[in-house]
Amino acid sequence: MKVYIIDYGMGNLMSVKRAFEECEADEVHICNEPEELFSADAIVLPGVGTFYEGMNNLNSKGWTKIIKQIAREGQIPILGICLGMQLFASKGYEGKEIEGLNLIDGEVKKLTTTNENERIPHVGWNEIHKFNDSSLFVGIDNATDFYFVHSYHFIPKYESNIIAKTSYCGEFVSGVSKDNIYGVQFHPEKSHKSGFKIINNFLSME
């Protein structure tokens, strides 16, 4: 199982690489060449940073076209983490309005607090509530805590693309999927054992 982590200049690739190595991946590569993605068994789009900056980097370095093609062909599973998940959307508003990868219909907008105790960014451990029964969450109990750190959230157009929700600022979508594309708003690579379980689930996708 060869895992390719997309290096588009955004964030903590090392953490992601280490976590996948600790799980059941045989080889984990940090990938700098879009064309190389075709030889992957699984692809990870990680990322911290702003939507605008992230999309700009994907576009200018030639990733966008290749990722879209791989997603369309549906042979290689793709996991988006945090900003990586958000970039699957049609459009984002962080930094400046910009079109996303448009793999899952929806928009990415800023969280809005619903009471005075809530602070933004949403930082720390919070529960996920499974939705639509995704194979990404097999063996994960409902209300398991994962580590979040973000200010924006993905609002999918269709409920069928939602696989998890989390209570904060009302409720937001903490997991999405469509065909062979999976996205989580939290950081499985920083959520220790529960995170490893999700990574292994992802690695066993056909």
Partner: protein
């Protein structure tokens, strides 16, 4: 529900971990890598590592060591000390840090916070503020507590929030290492003035102190050093205590 975090803080000086009192009289407590391994194994909520001599020694963060530490850390890892540029932040994030903590350089160049937040996102920019009370007012200190900036904490907290900081780590210099309890007025001074999460630091002596910082101080997280270094108390017990008081914590 979002959980209150209990965060062990590791102060890194020269080759090992130290803990002092009032930002002084440092005692050697451990070496870095084994400490990180233990905290990782115990699945603490998060870890903060501050390289406390880099700014005064005028050197860059030690990326190679950070790389080595982050290899063993599958929990969120914040690294601070000696950060002066966007390039420094980028290298730290690439070395495996999840967030960076910036203190001294923010006073010299607030644009570092602004640009850092713009490029890497607010969520990975933590501003660390060290404070001391004088004539009834709290003032910010830079250079590891050595230099009074003359800026009031409430004003600075708002300023860094406005420029894109994602979290504030507020440390009482006088309470630090005393184990007498946090300076709750100082924590409130920050939590009342900003809407971003605040990590309380400096002075935790027992589990009740953590509860007070969260419940009265409205801190989103509590940083703890001495009680984990010098007593039998553990992060797990701390969270069990908080849970018994009705504070949501990670199981």
């Amino acid at each position: 529900m979002l959980k209150a975090r209990v965060i062990p803080t590791l102060l890194w000086k020269d080759v090992g971990l130290v803990k002092g009192r009032g930002f002084n009289s440092w005692r050697r407590v451990d070496t870095v890598l084994p400490a990180i391994k233990v905290y990782n194994m115990r699945e603490v909520d998060e870890l903060i590592l501050l390289d406390i001599s880099s700014t005064n020694d005028k050197r860059e963060p030690d990326y190679e060591s950070i790389k080595e530490f982050s290899q063993e850390c599958f929990i969120p890892f914040t690294v601070g000390g000696g950060i002066k540029s966007i390039e420094n932040i980028k290298k730290l994030l690439r070395s495996g840090a999840d967030k960076v903590a910036i203190n001294t350089e923010a006073f010299n160049n607030i644009n570092l916070i602004k640009e850092g937040a713009k490029i890497f996102g607010s969520q990975c920019i933590v501003v660390s503020i060290d404070a001391k009370k004088e004539n009834g007012k709290y003032y910010c200190y830079s250079h590891c507590g050595n230099k009074c900036t003359g800026i009031e904490v409430s004003i600075w907290a708002k300023e860094v929030e406005r420029n894109g900081a994602g979290e504030i780590l507020i440390t009482s210099i006088e309470k630090d290492g005393t184990m007498e309890g946090y300076d709750i007025d100082l924590i409130k001074e920050v939590t009342d003035n900003v809407k971003i999460p605040v990590i309380a630091s400096g002075g935790a002596g027992d589990y009740e102190d953590l509860y007070i910082a969260i419940n009265e101080g409205k801190a989103s997280a509590v940083a703890v050093a001495s009680i984990f270094h010098f007593t039998e108390k553990t992060p797990r017990e701390a969270k069990m205590f908080l849970a018994s008081k009705g504070v949501p914590v990670r199981k």
